[in-house]
């Protein structure tokens, strides 16, 4: 019970002192700096480590037992709302972003292959934007998250049937160091 208390306390403290101003927007003609800058603050007063077992720890991002290792939100045809089945996933990532305010996320939206590439780029953008909006509503900072689209260009499933298309109507959440 004691360790749970410490975990909860640590979460509160991490969240409270986590806010950082968002990085300034790059000038219009410059290339955005994409070098990952990852630094997790460990407050002096607690004994919580940021290893696996903590819902807000970095290792959870790669732990197959943690919901945080799941990164994809799938969408129905012509729909851009987050389906109920993905709410827990979004909530978990939102909590992670709140707890790790220096972490940055790139959301890549995708579309199935049918039709114009540029229009599909815009459809993928709608999906990425929907994921971002939900994350920011739940506390993620605007400056932490960038939503972009890959359109139909990088399908996860190269098939040409409904099952493939469903798998490609998707937003993927990537953290610093993963892109």
């Amino acid at each position: 019970m004691r360790s749970l208390f410490f975990v909860a306390a640590a979460s509160l403290i991490l969240a409270a002192c986590g806010s950082q101003p968002a990085a300034p927007e790059q000038p219009a003609a410059g290339v955005e700096d994409r070098t990952p800058k990852v630094k997790v603050e460990t407050p002096a007063v607690t004994q919580v480590t940021t290893d696996s077992g903590s819902l807000t720890g970095l290792a959870a991002l790669k732990d197959p037992k943690s919901i945080l290792s799941k990164r994809s939100v799938f969408f129905d045809y012509d729909q851009y709302v987050i389906k109920a089945e993905f709410r827990p996933l979004i909530e978990a990532h939102a909590r992670f972003l709140v707890a790790n305010a220096k972490m940055k996320m790139l959301i890549q939206g995708n579309a199935d292959e049918r039709g114009s590439r540029e229009y599909n780029l815009a459809l993928g953008q709608k999906r990425a934007d929907a994921v971002k909006k939900n994350l920011t509503l739940l506390g993620g900072k605007e400056g932490q998250i960038e939503s972009v689209s890959l359109g139909e260009e990088k399908p996860r499933n190269p098939g040409h049937d409904e099952a493939a298309w469903a798998e490609n109507r998707r937003g993927d959440m990537l953290y610093s160091g993963e892109y």
């Binding site: 003609a29 290339v31 994409r34 790139l106 890549q108 114009s116 540029e118 229009y119 815009a122 892109y179």
Partner: protein, 426 residues
């Protein structure tokens, strides 16, 4: 008569002439699958001069005119023309309405002088002729210039044999933005990447390409100078940057940015400065294209509930809808004379190149394929190149604006997509 060494040189020059750059990997191969209704019968006599290289030049001219779908080649036999004594009656009996022939001669400076003349067989008169001096590396382009001359003299519009096309080749784990002659020869790679490249767009003077690259894991617009290979970022705002389109004066790009939410239309100077918003909607606005007079921008939007084509004045303001038939009309591109618009019309799962006469609003589907994308007019407005699928892979195809002439261009063991036809080079 010719020493073996000289024959070898001529033979390799002929190979260069015929095959374009023999070292070019991923060569585009063209075949013609449909021809015009009333092809003009023309005889191209063997060019005189050293036999191997003259025959190579003659072949390029014949292939150009044959592949245009507008000429029917009449067998000319083996002998070059005797300029001073054209047997018009013979040519008429063979069915030719026009006749061309010439000769190739090496000059002292190691270059070649090519002369030719074009004759009207019916009227038994000379229509014109040209002479060119060029190095051996320019012999293929000399042949194309001859084809252009013949085409324009007989059909009354400029030929496109000296123009170039840009397109993207995708092979396993690799994307290349390539530029080739309009017949697919001389392919050169402008950009090779492990990530996708889409939406290449020629600058009006033909020296630069804008395109979208995903090399940074998000779409970014680059402007690339073809002569030097140097490039700069034209748009890398937060979010996605795509669909670049050049203004006719070559100074600005219309682009699509998601930096302010959604996919919206903006204008930006080519160097990336001076970003201004062109239109605002809560829908998807994308695929902007300037009209040739620079006054209008046509674009795709789903503001009405389904993707349709609209237009707006470059100075902004009222948006007018252009397409009304069907539930999916995208990818508008205006013809060089501004009078018609090619686009892609979707019908359920089928996507086809369509043409609209802007004055009458009459539309016509030009293809019978099912996965057409990215149509692009030739600079004489006669042909439309587009991407489609054939034999399970991506190929380029071209169709004439009346739907009759059909060509296919493909690369072995790779997908080709995203064609853009370059302008006339002054």
């Amino acid at each position: 008569m010719l020493a073996p060494i000289s024959r070898g040189i001529f033979a390799s020059l002929a190979v260069l002439l015929l095959a374009g750059h023999p070292l070019a990997h991923a060569q585009l191969a063209m075949e013609i699958t449909g021809a015009g209704a009333n092809r003009l019968p023309i005889a191209i006599a063997e060019f005189g001069g050293e036999r191997i290289i003259s025959h190579a030049l003659t072949s390029v001219v014949r292939t150009d005119l044959d592949h245009s779908g507008l000429f029917r080649l009449i067998d000319s036999g083996e002998a070059p023309l005797n300029d001073g004594n054209i047997a018009y009656g013979d040519w008429k009996n063979r069915g030719a309405d026009a006749l061309a022939g010439g000769s190739l001669a090496a000059t002292a400076a190691g270059r070649y002088e090519t002369r030719f003349r074009l004759f009207d067989v019916q009227k038994q008169s000379l229509l014109g002729g040209q002479a060119y001096v060029a190095g051996s590396a320019q012999l293929r382009s000399t042949a194309h210039r001859i084809s252009d001359f013949i085409y324009e003299k007989l059909l009354g519009e400029p030929g496109i044999f000296s123009t170039r096309i840009a397109y993207v080749v995708k092979s396993t784990g690799r994307y290349e933005l390539q530029i080739a002659d309009a017949d697919g020869a001389n392919a050169q790679t402008a950009l090779a990447s492990r990530e996708p490249i889409i939406s290449p767009a020629w600058s009006p003077e033909g020296a630069r390409l804008a395109y979208v690259s995903f090399e940074a894991k998000k779409p970014i617009i680059y402007v690339h100078s073809l002569a030097t290979g140097s490039r700069h970022v034209a748009a890398n705002f937060k979010g996605s940057n795509s669909a670049p389109a050049w203004s006719p004066d070559g100074k600005r790009l219309a682009v699509v940015l998601s930096k302010d939410g959604g996919s919206q239309l903006f204008l930006v100077n080519v160097d990336g400065s001076g970003i201004t918003r062109l239109a605002s909607s809560t829908a998807i606005d994308t695929e902007p294209r300037f009209s040739p007079d620079g006054q209008w921008i046509y674009f795709t939007s789903d503001r009405g509930g389904s993707p349709q084509i609209y237009r707006i004045a470059v100075s902004g303001g009222e948006v007018t809808r252009v397409t009304f038939e069907g539930s999916y009309n995208v990818s508008p591109r205006l013809s060089p004379d501004g009078r018609s618009m090619v686009y892609v019309s979707g019908n359920g799962s089928r996507f086809q190149v369509a043409l609209m006469d802007l004055a009458s609003k009459q539309t016509q589907i030009l293809t019978d394929s099912a996965k057409d994308e990215s149509p692009s007019f030739s600079p004489n407005g006669r042909m439309i190149i587009y991407a489609t699928e054939s034999g399970g892979r991506g190929v380029l195809a071209a169709v004439s604006s009346d739907g009759r002439v059909k060509q296919k261009l493909s690369v072995q063991a790779a997908d080709v997509r995203e064609p853009a036809w370059g302008p006339f080079i002054k």
